[in-house]
């Protein structure tokens, strides 16, 4: 046997959608996390309720890498339909745990096989028909626990944690796992180098959170009171978590009144329309969508931009165009969302790169929306939104809400009613608004998506239109400086990387790989649009800058070049990954090394 490989391996479970495999995978994840070992799960699932193949990748590294791995060390082959293909993904020397009944004729010989009679075990030992299907997956948890040396106590913790709300399910699941655990002990001797050992110092103070959970909590802490949404993958869970958290934290048990309204709208047009109506009337309001939904929201987004109504819009990106691949990840909405609507429109777009930022940006988006009286978009994606990520615990906010420039009855009295809804008195492009219900005769004004002057009166006047558009541009310029600044990590390399969103995790790893190969590279992570001035300065400080993103056309690459003076444009290069699978580090290092090998 070769040198042991400890705490550095990738498990891939190939199962059937709707069979309960996700629960088994989460138990495994939590058990390993409980050993103090960093975990990075990625769920690759079909647009399907039951029957299609699904994969769950559990990456385990002592460093806590969270990007997808391109190599599989341990395959759990549970789906006969994909078993031959799945086998190809295993690295030479890897391990394959498979259903004993699968045909093994002519299989590759450079991996170790552990055939397990999962069906027979389930049939003979689990009497209840309905439970059998669900619990069959649990058996492989036991086999993996035996194979890798996961202590039984950690397994127990994983099951209890997973069934926190259903403690009655704990014993049956543990029994099923024990079947696999015992089968391993009784039938196999270890033929492979992989093992797990408890660690200290790597996961203390850390939790496992999905980006959509983080965003839902952020929205609650940001004071959202009106949420309107339409179900769509991968955005739905954000609003479903919001509903669950609201039932817990916003419900007055005595009166059964709720300090929030979450409306499942008839479509995305209505969803964003309701949020805008609520924002206009002064509530902190949001919607969340993805794919086709964001396309449908274009017209209303233009209204909110032009009529200057605060609203927060989450886009949990998936693959497009059209229906695309509804359950695969992407960063291909950034260009579209930035200017969503017909006409000259530009939006504030927040780009969280971690689940912690999903929480913080969601929370702070409501301040930005109120402060700048405009839609604020938060661009997450399926990878960030729906997978569990290891993260430091989130911080309690240290600031109060910023409700922006709102004139109260008393303010209007002091002004003797002299104000203009779209009059820029502070010179920052941000004007004062009043809310419906303000008891002053000068409070009311007519909000419209048609041409208007400083007093919100209808006009088709050429000068008034241009003046207003210039002010809106000025307002966006003010806002740009208030948005999260880029994060720069620099040590004087001639090469710089620029990325945003969930690509971050792959960039971290790619930089480590490049540094280990003697090629240190600097890094700027964009966290908002419009781009900060720092982006151009970063490019100016580097000879070659690679913009890395998960879309076909290099959308951020285009935005970066547009923001540069002509002499810097040539320095920027593009690395793109767009197959729907979360970007692995090798998709950065490979193309970068190839390009670096070619003389400029």
């Amino acid at each position: 046997m070769t040198e042991p490989i400890v705490n550095d391996l990738t498990i891939q479970a190939a199962t059937v959608n709707g069979s309960g495999s996700q629960t088994a995978n989460l138990v495994l994840t939590r058990a390993i996390f409980h050993m103090g070992i960093p975990v990075a799960p990625k769920n690759v699932f079909p647009s399907n309720i039951e029957g299609l193949p699904t994969w769950y990748q559990l990456r385990i590294t002592p460093e806590g890498h969270m990007a997808r791995s391109d190599k599989v060390d341990i395959l759990i082959a549970f789906n006969v339909a994909t078993w031959r293909e799945d086998l190809k993904s295993v690295r030479p020397g890897g391990v394959v745990i498979h259903e004993e009944a699968f045909s093994t004729a002519d299989v590759r010989t450079d991996v170790t096989y552990y055939p397990v009679p999962f069906s027979k075990l389930a049939k003979s030992k689990i009497q209840n028909d309905t439970l059998r299907k669900q619990l069959a997956n649990m058996i492989y948890v036991g086999v993996v626990a035996g194979l890798l040396g996961i202590p039984w106590g950690a397994v127990e913790h994983g099951v209890k944690r997973q069934f926190l709300a259903k403690p009655k399910a704990v014993p049956v699941n543990l029994d099923a796992i024990k079947l696999g655990y015992d089968y391993w002990q009784d039938n196999f001797s270890k033929q492979d180098p992989y093992r797990l050992e408890p660690m200290t110092g790597a996961v203390e103070g850390k939790v496992l959170v999905e980006g959509n959970q983080a965003a839902a909590l952020g929205a609650l802490m940001g004071g959202v009171t009106v949420v309107a949404w339409y179900p769509i993958t991968p955005s739905s869970s954000l609003c479903e978590y919001l509903i669950a958290y609201s039932d817990r934290f916003r419900l007055d048990e005595k009166t059964s009144e709720k300090n929030i309204s979450v409306v499942q709208a008839e479509d995305e047009l209505a969803a964003v329309g309701m949020a805008i109506g609520a924002g206009w009337a002064g509530a902190r309001a949001m919607t969340s969508t993805s794919g086709p939904g964001i396309s449908l929201m274009a017209e209303f987004s233009g209204l909110a931009y032009y009529a200057e109504v605060p609203v927060v819009i989450f886009d949990i990106q998936r693959i497009g165009p059209s229906t695309g691949l509804p359950t695969r990840t992407s960063q291909a909405d950034i260009g579209f969302v930035y200017t969503l609507s017909h006409g000259d429109t530009k939006h504030l777009v927040l780009l969280p790169g971690t689940v912690e930022e999903c929480y913080e940006f969601a929370r702070d988006a409501f301040d930005h929306a109120d402060r700048f009286q405009t839609p604020v978009f938060i661009l997450s994606d399926l990878d960030l939104g729906m997978n569990l990520w290891m993260t430091p615990e989130f911080k309690y906010p240290d600031k109060k809400f910023d409700r922006g420039k709102v004139l109260s009855k008393q303010d209007l009295e002091k002004l003797a009613g002299e104000w203009g809804r779209y009059r820029d008195v502070d010179g920052d492009g941000v004007t004062y608004r009043t809310l419906p219900g303000t008891d002053h005769p000068a409070a009311g004004y007519f909000t419209r998506g048609s041409g208007h002057d400083e007093q919100a009166r209808y006009t088709e006047g050429a000068d008034a239109y241009a003046r207003n558009m210039d002010r809106l541009a000025h307002k966006l310029e003010t806002a740009r400086h208030a948005l999260p600044a880029p994060v720069v990590e620099e040590s004087g390399s001639p090469i710089g990387l620029i990325a945003f969103g969930s690509t971050h995790s792959a960039v971290i790893e790619a930089r480590e790989m490049l540094a280990a190969a003697g090629k240190k590279v600097d890094y700027l992570r964009v966290r908002a649009l419009p781009l900060a001035d720092e982006v151009a300065r970063f490019v100016a400080r580097h000879e070659r800058v690679y913009v890395i993103e998960q879309n076909r056309d290099g959308q951020l690459y285009d935005l970066v070049r547009l923001a540069l003076p002509a002499e810097l444009v040539e320095r920027v290069r593009s690395i793109r990954h767009y197959n729907g699978q979360p970007i692995p580090a090798i998709a950065i290092t490979g193309p970068l090394m190839d390009r670096e090998a070619v003389p400029a």
Binding site: L164, K206, V207, L208, V209, Q213, L220, M221, G223, V224, T225, V226, A228, F249, R250, S256, E257, K258, N259, I260, S261, V263, A265, E266, D267, L269, A270, A271, V272, G273, M274, I276, G277, A278, W280, A281, G282, A283, R284, F300, A307, E393, F394, Y396, K400, T434, L435, P436, G437, T438, D439, P441, A443, G444, Y445, F446, T447, R448, G449, S450
Partner: protein
């Protein structure tokens, strides 16, 4: 005569708006005047009124009444969404939506129906002229089969009747009227505002420029000749006492949730406005006989409205601050620890 004021101390002029930019003689202008009269007589406080609209001639009219109230002229066919959101943000507001037949029966049909499904507390007025005025006279979806366009084209499609749709959906208040019939429109507007829930008021409102010719079923002369009112409507607001002398069996009294009364004086056949199937029958019979049936078709004063169903507090959500909306530090750290 010195200026007369209403119960909130405002003169009628306080309910006026900017000068209309619609054509002289447009039915919508009459409706605007009826609105001013109704709001003045009800004593609606302008700062509590939210005037909502979509796109089209009809949707411009909220600018022409109660200038001091807030208004929102949104996007085409989406007034219901904006109204729903604004209402959730602040239940104290009186939501008054003005839409047209294109805005409601074509591009906005989905939102119209879903607002009814939720029974959002608002008044939804359809200024219905059967034509697209701003884009120069195309048929709308409420145009009757066989009705003739100004240039002679004949409508070959069945009309969508907003009242029939509303009734089929179980709308809690459905009425139809005619812009030229102020005696009926004004009490219906008042009743619609007093009603708790979605009140649909379809008002036939002739377009003098594109749809007021022979062969149109939305012209002044056609409506005058074919209007058949099912009952004389009067409205007694909650702040007035009911003093009506009537022969037994000639009057129906519908008490609304806020204590107002709609008094209906029988004209021809007796129509029970709390019987939804009867209302559908009345519409269908009118359609078969070529009459325009007007009046209060249906009301259910007890149906739970959306915000009540959703347990939204009376205090406006928009007034809530950090203390009410954020988890406490203890709740927060407990919650975070559950993710370990």
């Amino acid at each position: 005569m010195s200026a007369t004021v209403n119960r909130v101390g405002l003169p009628r002029d306080a309910y006026k708006g900017a000068a209309t930019t619609l054509c002289a003689g447009c039915g919508h202008n009459s409706i605007t005047n009826h609105m001013i009269k109704a709001l003045y007589e009800l004593g609606v406080e302008p700062h509590l009124l939210a005037k909502m609209s979509g796109i089209g001639c009809s949707s411009k009219t909220p600018a022409y009444f109660v200038e001091t109230a807030h208004g929102f002229n949104g996007v085409h066919g989406r007034m219901p969404a904006l109204t729903t959101g604004a209402h959730l943000a602040n239940r104290q507001l009186i939501m008054l939506g003005v839409s047209g037949d294109g805005d409601t029966a074509s591009i906005g049909l989905g939102q119209f129906m879903h607002m009814i499904r939720r029974n959002v507390d608002c008044t939804y007025i359809i200024e219905d002229n059967g034509t697209y005025g701003l884009t120069k006279g195309q048929f709308s979806a409420t145009a009757d089969l066989g009705s003739v366009q100004k240039k002679g084209a004949v409508n070959t499609f069945q009309p969508i009747d907003p009242c029939a749709v509303a009734l089929a959906l179980g709308c809690s208040f459905v009425a139809r009227s005619f812009s030229g019939d102020g005696k009926q429109v004004v009490p219906l507007i008042k009743a619609a505002i007093a009603h708790r829930g979605t009140a649909i008021l379809d008002i036939i409102s002739p377009c003098v420029t594109f749809n007021d010719h022979d062969g149109s079923t939305k012209s002044y002369s056609w409506v005058k000749d074919h209007e058949e009112s099912i009952a004389d409507v009067s409205f007694i607001p909650f702040f007035e006492e009911v003093h009506v002398d009537y022969e037994p069996g000639t009057m129906r009294d519908v008490r609304l949730h806020d204590g107002s009364h709609i008094m209906l004086k029988k004209l021809g056949e007796d129509h029970d406005p709390t019987d939804r199937r009867a209302a559908i029958k009345v519409i269908e019979e009118g359609r078969a006989e070529g009459h325009l049936v007007t009046g209060l078709l249906y009301v259910d004063a007890e149906m739970s409205d959306f915000a009540t169903t959703e347990h939204i507090p009376q205090r406006p959500l928009r007034e809530l601050g950090e203390d009410e909306l954020r988890l406490t530090p203890d709740q927060f750290s407990q919650f975070m620890s559950e993710f370990a």
